[in-house]
């Protein structure tokens, strides 16, 4: 019995060569499911905690392995691709060529809808990609079921519509109209008029937090919780009017592109931006985020497209490394001005909203082939949609969880008790403060009395104030005589150490 068991374990370790390759692949996938590295348990002194955590880490390893195997063997569909042989370039492949090669279901996804009267169209898709909302500038709002190509509802609001956004599912959508924004139900009834925001230029919905974010014509950012209607934050950006706003799906921060070429990132709980990046010499024309949250693409009016790494806030050197190059191109009919491009979730389809309506083109490889029913289900029934809404509400995150690095949530911060600074450190800090005070340049007043003696007096006062925040030095200097010298402190026995001067 025991011998047989040993044999089995040996067989597990020595695999045939092709299976060994698969092993490497599986390991790479496993890494993704491990979500980072394990904790360092060597530094723990508590034995019970150590064994408990060690057994947990083992469990994580096992579950990552199981998930990697499921991904390899059990997923129903595989990703789309476009492969050319020989010298043919992928960007020369036209949509008509693609239509010839793919099946009927996919070729139904290529179409052009011509609606010349109602102005440039903005698009939005629900999270599952099943429903689409098209909003024309001249007031035409249309809710379409993409799977059956059914027009669910269309309304004419008879006002300028600048942007449209779905809320958490297809039952509610928001439209940014001429003076205010409005929230509509699926059957076209106007539910709310959002007066506080003013004339909105861009509307975006943060799914996990149920926040409707918008930037208006004055350059103010508004965040509103749509579950109970409270305005969570109104932020004056101070950078003027902009209509370039995108949400980073990884961490929920809102990025604005400004006319000076800067991109600023905001969170609702602070009045100052989290990050300010100078991206372009001229105005920023649009922004896009990678779903994993590490990459951002910006384009400027100087006809340049840049890709940024958001961990280091540096530009990714695209062309030279060859990672980013042109994949496909599609030329629109002459005279069409493109207003919005948006990939449809879970499908290899790109929706284009333009001045004569909207179009849809096939981009093989752009969609996630395997959806998870609990995250977003394109084949949802009414019951499932209702249950999902309740679960989404239960899992609603508070606005404080929006931060640049969301992995900090649920992590323990090492507790550091504030130690008393040594004398050397205090000195250094004092120097820094005094230097800062001396470096402050006082405004030279031209109106009124501006005697040089008064200016020097004022400067001296500033330096005095800086010094005054470090009072301990004076006290310790007074008690110098009674205290034992620093050199002798090291040689003192433990019981007398408290009489030595703290060093």
């Amino acid at each position: 019995m025991e011998v047989a068991l040993e044999d089995n374990s040996l067989m597990d370790k020595v695999l045939p060569p092709d299976e060994q390759e698969i092993d490497v692949e599986l390991e790479a996938k496993e890494k993704k499911y491990l979500r980072g590295e394990g904790a360092n348990l060597e530094t723990l002194k508590d034995k019970k905690l150590k064994t408990q955590l060690a057994s947990r880490e083992k469990l994580y390893g096992k579950s990552a392995k199981a998930a990697a195997k499921i991904e390899k063997w059990l997923l129903p569909a595989s990703a789309g691709y476009l492969e050319t042989d020989g010298l043919e370039k992928t960007w020369r492949v036209k949509q008509t060529d693609i239509a010839k090669e793919v099946d009927i279901l996919s070729s139904r996804n290529q179409y052009d809808i011509v609606l010349p009267d109602f102005g440039p169209y903005k698009l939005d898709f629900t999270a599952s990609g099943r429903h689409m909302l098209a909003g024309g500038r001249k007031g035409h709002l249309a809710l379409v079921d993409m799977m059956s190509m059914n027009l669910i509802k269309e309304i004419q609001v008879r006002e300028t519509v600048r942007d449209v956004a779905f809320l958490h599912n297809d039952q509610f959508f928001a439209a940014a109209q001429k003076k205010y924004s409005y929230i509509y139900a699926r059957d076209g009834t106007e539910l709310h008029c959002l007066k506080e925001r003013g004339p909105v230029a861009r509307l975006r919905f943060l799914k996990n937090h149920f926040l409707l974010a918008s930037v208006n014509k004055i350059g103010q950012l508004h965040y509103q919780d749509v579950t109970y209607g409270d305005m969570v934050a109104s932020i004056r950006t101070g950078k003027g009017r902009t209509d370039v706003m995108e949400v980073n799906p990884y961490n929920g921060v809102v990025a604005l592109g400004h006319s000076g070429g800067t991109v600023t990132m905001w969170k609702p709980t602070s009045q100052a931006p989290l990050v300010q990046m100078q991206c372009h010499p001229g105005p920023v024309s649009s922004l896009a985020f990678h779903p994993n949250g590490h990459l951002m693409a910006t384009s400027g009016k100087e006809r340049k497209l840049k890709i940024w790494d958001l961990r280091k806030f540096e530009e990714v050197l695209g062309d030279s490394s060859g990672d980013y190059s042109r994949y496909m191109s599609h030329s629109m009919v002459k005279g069409y001005q493109i207003e919005k491009v948006m990939f449809r979730p879970y499908e290899d389809v790109l929706g284009i909203g333009h001045s004569m309506g909207w179009s849809s083109v096939l981009i093989p490889g752009s969609g996630e082939p395997n959806f998870d029913s609990w995250v977003a289900n394109p084949f949802e029934t009414t019951k499932q949609r209702r249950e999902k809404e309740v679960h989404l509400l239960l899992d609603k995150l508070p606005p404080e969880t929006i931060m640049l690095d969301p992995s900090k949530i649920g992590a323990m911060r090492p507790s550091r008790r504030k130690e008393r600074l040594t004398r050397g450190e205090i000195e250094a800090e004092k120097e820094v403060a005094v230097e800062a005070a001396k470096g402050v340049e006082l405004k030279k007043k031209t109106k009124g009395r501006n005697k040089p003696s008064k200016r020097t007096k004022k400067k001296k006062e500033l330096v005095e104030n800086a010094k005054r925040t470090f009072p301990e030095q004076e006290n310790s200097a007074a008690g110098k005589k009674r205290r034992i010298g620093e050199d002798a402190a090291a040689e003192l026995p433990a019981c007398l150490k408290r009489f030595a001067r703290k060093n």
Binding site: K32, Y33, R35, K48, I70, E71, P76, A77, S78, A79, G80, Y81, L82, E83, T84, V93, I98, E101, V102, D103, L105, S106, N109, N208, P249, Y250, N251, G252, P291, N292, G293, Y346, E347, P364, G367, E368, N370, F371, D372, S373, W374, V375, A376, N377, P378, F379, T381, Q384, D395, K396, L397, P398, T401, P406, S407, I409, G410, M412, A494, C495
Partner: protein
Amino acid sequence: MRIKTISRSVDEFTRERSQDLQRVFHNFDPSLRPMEKAVEYQRALTAAKLEKIFARPFVGAMDGHRDGISCMAKNPNYLKGIFSASMDGDIRLWDIATRRTVCQFPGHLGAVRGLTVSTDGNVLVSCGTDCNVRLWSVPRPSLEDSDLSSEKSTEPSAVYTCKNALLAVDHQFEGDLFATAGAQLDIWNHNRSQPVQSFTSGSHSVISVRFNPGEPDILATSSGDNHISIYDIRMSSAARKILMRTKTNSIAWNPMEPMNFTAANEDGNCYSFDGRKNEEAKCVHKDHVSAVMDIDFSPTGREFVTGSYDRSVRIFPYNGGHSREIYHTKRMQRVFCVKYSSDATYVISGSDDTNLRLWKAKASEQLGVILPREQKKHEYNEAVKNRYKHLPEIKRIVRHRHLPKPIYKAKAESRAMNDAKRRKDDRRKAHSAPGTVVTESHRTRRIIKEVE
């Protein structure tokens, strides 16, 4: 040129007939779930709050005795029944489901000090301060008992007298011997009227006795001169003896790890020992502020319940230093005995106010039939709460318990006293020559010595 695009046909992804279940597809890729950690934290917070909302541990009280309850016994063969005895000699068999007396066993003249049931559930042994040991035959539970308007009473099947008052009794597992504790430790057989074996040690009386569930010949006793002794009845004297600083009121063996036992001590702590190695306690369980009167292990061996003189019942993990749960009521006075039910769901406490109280072992547990999806949800909530229970927001909610004012004040006082003591010891140590002042670990602090 090879092109492939995603094309999903509707029938592959939806159900065929309306009787089928809906199809569910999984993709565990973390990139599909942004902010999953924050969502999990939010769920842990909600789970912690829900647990507190549903925490209703008190099920009911069993009323009937006319004097304070001195001891209880579980029937190993019958889950619903529990025996209890009071200070005026009244022994009753209770049906826990209906919380009513099934049968009474009158006969004792003084306080009944010990109750135990044989392993096959047929014989109930009781002993008391009237120097008697009485054996009763336990009535078989039948369908007639369900309409309980009559409270039956039975005659003892045997009465044995001895010279001194008896303080405790326990029955051997899978055997027909039982041990009584009084002036000395006696081992009896059901059929003999005199003890088969006697152990005397010193001049102090033996307070409590408990047989080991794993080894039927080993038993642990505690005596009034602060000793804990382990006896093997095949030998003539104690196998091991531990001398503590204060007396032990009760001992319980861990049913899943029969070499370990936990002793409920007069100083408010419970000490878990390894029966083979007695120099230091395996774990010190500290949370009671007054003497711990009784202790009983859960059949899972993972928790034990203690009842204390400070009017509270606490549930401890078997290897943890602090209690997981505390139960108290304004009406419950000094708790003299506790039992953990054999299905690990309930805790029964008998106290000075003549009532037996039934509590849930897990305060927010949903009793009754639970559907499998509900069960899974409960398990998920438990797991996600345990994952984040060390973070401040959730820790505050999970740890929060309302303590009665006397216990709260006593704890604050003892904390202040311990802090002061520790500070003084640290300073004494710092001001003495290194190595002269040695701090004792808590596990050895209360043990004076071990005697072979």
